[in-house]
Symmetry: C3
Subunit: 213 residues, 3 copies
């Protein structure tokens, strides 16, 4: 119940970031709905396809798809306000990230998959929506460059899996993961924590990659 | 029978648009076949993967894959004629779009899925081939910018689903959807109908998206 | 046993090419792991999703995913050496290509799929990892432009399928395919064999593609 409410908040916030990215690319209403939906429910979709977990969430519950399409269209109207109040937005988005990660972890656990896959499932669910958004709108995939987005999903996945493994009651596990994950995400945004970046100079290795293909 | 014939016309026309896009990117024969096939049968493939509808159409009927590869290679030889007679081409492509949408709707209906998903299935089948083509050849995804491509798929899906729901015989439903969808598509091309576009200025919201990632 | 050993060599080499591509895009450690894994196990993943062959290889054997992530991270440390000894690398990569193709062909054969699909499965397994790498790191998909990468996968698939069809013992088939495929790949790299390229001039057909969308 708690998770469902937070999930709806999360997909709404994610859909809005998708719609903004579509607006930067001057897409039409259909493009806005597509990018909004891909951003919001793309992570869960990729996860379910990779795990063979059918039917997909939004196929079984089409109302989620309706929410993301409407949130996308709404964003075209209220874009100015969305941008102005972007601090609220960062909070909603952080909630969404943790909720997605928890749900991703749970789906894999319910399928009886090994620990590593449960945590990968958390990361995929948390991150692939943003990755799809950036691929479709042809942006540098920011998920792979910027603040600790994927790492927070990893943290949430490990924490949730670990507490469930040690038989902590589910409600406590969920709330604890939400609080810790949310705090870590906010700290990462505020303090601009980043993972080390791997920078490779162009000229030399070009040859290797070219020959390889 | 009618649908199968029109489907083969449709995938041939779509494969040719894919091959032209590959030629613009100076791809080799293999790239031409890949982009041609992704354009022609990519929409149905994405739909089947999302719905868990196995085996995929071209896995069960590999001859469709042979057709798209041959159509792609043929295009490298007759590209000049394809471009010269592009009006015939637009007609074949419009037929393909409606047929894809009808088939997409039917597949979801046969699986007993809810109305919204049947219509989404029609749109995905109609649109994702062109979207994949544009992603692989790194073009601005035109499906999301230009004339009412996705909207026509939506119209065809709604009409087909609605008439079947009200127990109109299948042949009549199919022909009526083909006629209305085809006419709407031709009108959209001729009259340059478009969906409203969502344009967002760069500077301000950049900050939001960056912080979010 | 032989195949498993060669497979591990192959995914390690592929993961390293993925990590180098990520480094060119200044990705962080997480991006490096993602691109490395997508390059190394993306081909098998796409194949399994297309064929409905669940669970995916790396879901059933998460250690492969651990290998690709570690190989990716290791590459950030030893990038200079990787680039210096790139001839060894090309050899490992060629082994990987043939092994991937053989495994792809076998998976489809074990599912009782038709000959064409078995060979397509070989090509998809061999090629899609590199294609995903280039899509995520926003490079021109080199698989579709450069030396006979996909064609070698095709050759390996046809040869493996053909020899198994004529009941040649599996070990002999595997070794023969490895030797022939590896030799062909090395020859293609050395002699710069290429498939003909389809080049289409920009101005004229633009109109067609625009109208079509």
């Amino acid at each position: 119940m708690l998770l469902t409410t937070l999930y709806i908040i999360g997909i709404t916030a994610e859909a809005m970031t998708g719609a903004l990215a579509a607006g930067k690319r001057h897409m039409d209403w259909f493009g806005v709905m597509l990018v909004a939906s891909a951003t919001a429910i793309g992570g869960g979709t990729v996860r379910d396809v990779l795990l063979g977990h059918y039917p997909l969430g939004w196929v079984a519950n089409p109302q989620y798809l309706v929410i993301t399409c409407l949130a996308g269209l709404l964003t075209t109207v209220i874009a100015k306000w969305v941008i102005r109040f972007h601090k609220i937005f960062i909070i909603l988005d952080a909630i969404g990230l943790i909720v997605f990660s928890i749900i991703g972890c749970r789906v894999a656990m319910d399928m009886g998959l090994p620990a590593i896959i449960c945590i990968v499932s958390a990361v995929v669910t948390g991150v692939f929506g943003g990755l799809l958004r950036d691929l479709i709108t042809r942006r540098q995939p920011m998920v792979l460059h910027k603040e600790l987005y994927a790492s927070i999903a990893l943290l949430a996945g490990v924490m949730y899996y670990g507490m469930m493994y040690f038989a902590v009651p589910e409600l406590i596990t969920t709330i604890a993961t939400l609080v810790v994950g949310f705090t870590a995400r906010m700290a990462a945004v505020q303090l601009r924590w980043r993972l080390p970046v791997f920078v490779l100079e162009e000229p030399k290795e070009d040859k290797l990659l070219e020959t390889r293909n």
